[in-house]
């Protein structure tokens, strides 16, 4: 069979076109692999919000080789809106306990920073949720990330295809960023944990309330781009009273009685998802984040303090996310096997 010059040119053009179309799907969407070799997670028992949280948290933090001596520590709680009776926000007592702990560990300064995504009047949320008085009493500075100075920041991943984002100086210049989510379900993203909590660093003055551009670009994709760009150094997740159902605002309080500490946000979120009775590998940003941000596999996570206790009844979710719920009585091995399989699935939307 002879190949004419015409056939050769057509074939080459087709090959080039095919490569052009498929290459973006084959190449990694992240710039660098930031995963630690191993991650550490501690599930700490805490049944209620009280002054005892100081000691509980201090003991939990001693399980980690944390070095914040002379550093600026930024605590990023989840502070969205205030609805009486709803467990929406990270409890202020936990944030105060964290601030006190990091001060004792020698931090140069500890400040609390957040840009609420639903309520534009940040001071109102602070006041209603009990933060304002607590922070004032403890002389802890609060920075409204919705209105902070902004720096044009190239994204270190390309899941959204967004151009550089304008991000707050306070977060970008932090030596040690602590994501402090409320463990909740979320009707758009399944869960809102330490990685989703980073939506709060996106400034409302620039991107609106809610931060609608992130929804249009894809919530899961935006979480990945943000977490690749703004590294989370530590996680303190508030699971003392979590939220299930129609989160992040109108869900039902669900007491978990735990605080999850971790030096890796992917490991933290995978663990929290298991605590909620979810298959972490079915949550896109956790699964994909395990490729380059952190570790989701139990085999790569050193578990300190309590063990992961999968609840008898998984968290309630809106119908679209029922697939997240793990089979009852699943064991860690089965879970890991599924997760491992899921992590091999190419990223798709």
């Amino acid at each position: 069979m002879s190949v004419t010059r015409r056939d050769f040119l057509i074939g080459s053009a087709a090959l080039a076109a095919g490569a052009t179309v498929t290459t973006p799907f084959l190449l990694p969407k992240y710039h660098s692999d930031q995963r630690p070799k191993r991650s550490r997670v501690a599930i700490v028992d805490a049944q209620q919000y009280s002054q005892q949280l100081d000691q509980i948290l201090a003991a939990g933090l001693r399980l980690f080789p944390i070095d914040v001596l002379g550093k600026t520590v930024v605590l990023k709680p989840n502070l969205v809106d205030y609805i009486p009776g709803n467990a929406i926000n990270t409890h202020p007592l936990l944030v105060l306990a964290a601030a006190e702990s990091f001060r004792r560990l020698g931090a140069k300064s500890v400040l609390v920073a957040e840009g609420p995504g639903h309520q534009r009047d940040t001071q109102l949320v602070l006041s209603q949720s009990g933060y304002e008085q607590s922070l004032r009493d403890e002389k802890i500075r609060f920075v409204d990330l919705n209105r902070d100075e902004l720096i044009r920041t190239p994204l270190r991943a390309g899941y959204t295809g967004m151009k550089p984002l304008w991000l707050p100086r306070t977060v970008l210049e932090a030596d040690f960023l602590v994501s402090m989510p409320k463990i909740k379900t979320h009707h758009w993203s399944g869960v809102t944990l330490s990685m989703k909590n980073m939506f709060g660093v996106v400034p409302g003055t620039r991107y609106g309330w809610p931060k609608n551009i992130l929804h249009w670009k894809g919530i899961q994709e935006s979480i990945l781009d943000l977490c690749a760009t703004v590294p989370i150094h530590f996680v303190i997740a508030d699971g003392i009273v979590a939220m299930e159902g129609n989160g992040p605002l109108n869900g039902t309080p669900r007491p978990l009685g735990t605080i999850v500490l971790a030096d890796d946000p992917v490991a933290a979120d995978a663990t929290c998802a298991r605590l909620m009775g979810f298959e972490s590998g079915r949550i896109v940003h956790i699964r994909e984040g395990a490729r380059f941000i952190g570790n989701a596999s139990s085999a790569l996570i050193d578990q300190a303090a309590e063990t992961v206790d999968v609840p008898a009844t998984p968290f309630q979710v809106v119908p679209e996310f029922r697939f997240l719920r793990a089979p009852l009585k699943c064991d860690a091995t089965a879970s890991n096997a599924q997760e491992s399989q899921a992590s091999k699935t190419p990223y798709a939307r």
């Binding site: 809106d81 609805i83 639903h118 309520q119 534009r120 009047d121 940040t122 001071q123 109102l124 602070l126 006041s127 209603q128 409204d144 209105r147 902070d148 100075e149 902004l150 044009r152 151009k163 304008w166 009707h187 003055t205 620039r206 991107y207 609106g208 309330w209 809610p210 609608n212 551009i213 249009w216 129609n246 605002l249 109108n250 809106v318």
Partner: protein, 423 residues
Amino acid sequence: MTGNESLSPLLTPEADRVATCPSQLHRQTFFTDHTLTGSPTFFRCSVWIPPSDSAGRAVGNAPFKPCSPSLFHQSHFGWEQSPPTPKRGFAWTCSSRIPVVAGFFDSKEIPHYKVPTVTTDPIVLSDLLAELALRQLPCGGWAALASSSQPAIEPTCYSALALDSVPVGDLAHAQDFLLRTQNPNGSWPVFPGDDQRGGWITSLVVMALRDLVPAIPARLQGLHWLLNCAGKEANWFWKWKFRTADRHVRFNPDKYGWPWFPDTVSWVVPTSFAILALNQIPCSCGGLEQIPFRVNRGVEMLMDRVCPGGGWNAGNGVVYGVALAPHADDTAIALLALRDRAEDPVVQGSVDYLERTAPALTAPCSLAWAILALAAHRRPIASLRSSLVALPDLSGIEDTSTLALACLAIDYRRALSAFGVTV
């Protein structure tokens, strides 16, 4: 005028009232207000703040720290009592409980003037305006936060509106800053250096430049940009998507307004500001024929997005079948835009919601917006204004937009006029 001149204390009942005012008077830059009768003439006021001892008491006639003199316009103040005999170099002092004691009032070329009834509101207002003026950046704009030096358009607009007709701050410089930062497409960025696609802030700038004749071409460009900007649901494809596949948020995609930024859907606050800006245009001609249509669509959109119990939040009244709670500030801004629909039951219900909610507000931003909206809808606001001026450390508010909004709420009549709202 120097601080070495002897001060003749004058304790009046009004001054006593000042002495019992809230602690923010400790930061008072301007002590009191005088004006001239007749034409709107300015007076000059210099104030000295003496040091205080460890107990916070003023220290006698200790050396005073001079503050920069500033000018105030009479329209800010209302007078009730006849004046004492005026004299040049007149000094006023106050109770020792407040270390803000003395003011010299230059009465050059003034035939006569009155001593005002010193009420808390104008004092707090003058204090806040002075603080606002101090925060103006060399470029003419204001930063979002007091601790920041990055100019931003939103706080600059509110500050320009608050300082309009008040001879403190450099309003002309602020207006020049706004004109310099306009995007080539007629919109405004959130801050200088942002990309040039523009956003919701364009509506606020159009209002902030409303009385400036040289700004007319820029405003027209801004208005044209606003008319060409619409929520993404205005497009047939997204309309179809929201009708068929994406129905978790209850809304009618036929009723669209303005987004925060291009390529996103309509939201309550940007739509409200756009309606306010477009309503300021006296005629819909010269390429602005679309104004009535867009305003009507925007109003319909606001009516559609109302929360079931009245009031608005960002724009999600019902999600997954659950009614979401309204926000006071979003509700107030929407009500300003809907002043012309005051008789509509939806508007009435939302005004009722705001009236019920406002007394419990402890944050100045929401409270200020609530005052403006309730005043626009002719509801009583005296107690709310008292609550606002009594908030602790009002002039120390970190958020400059909130500081300016507090000024606008205290001086609400002029503020409503600036927003084009007639009462």
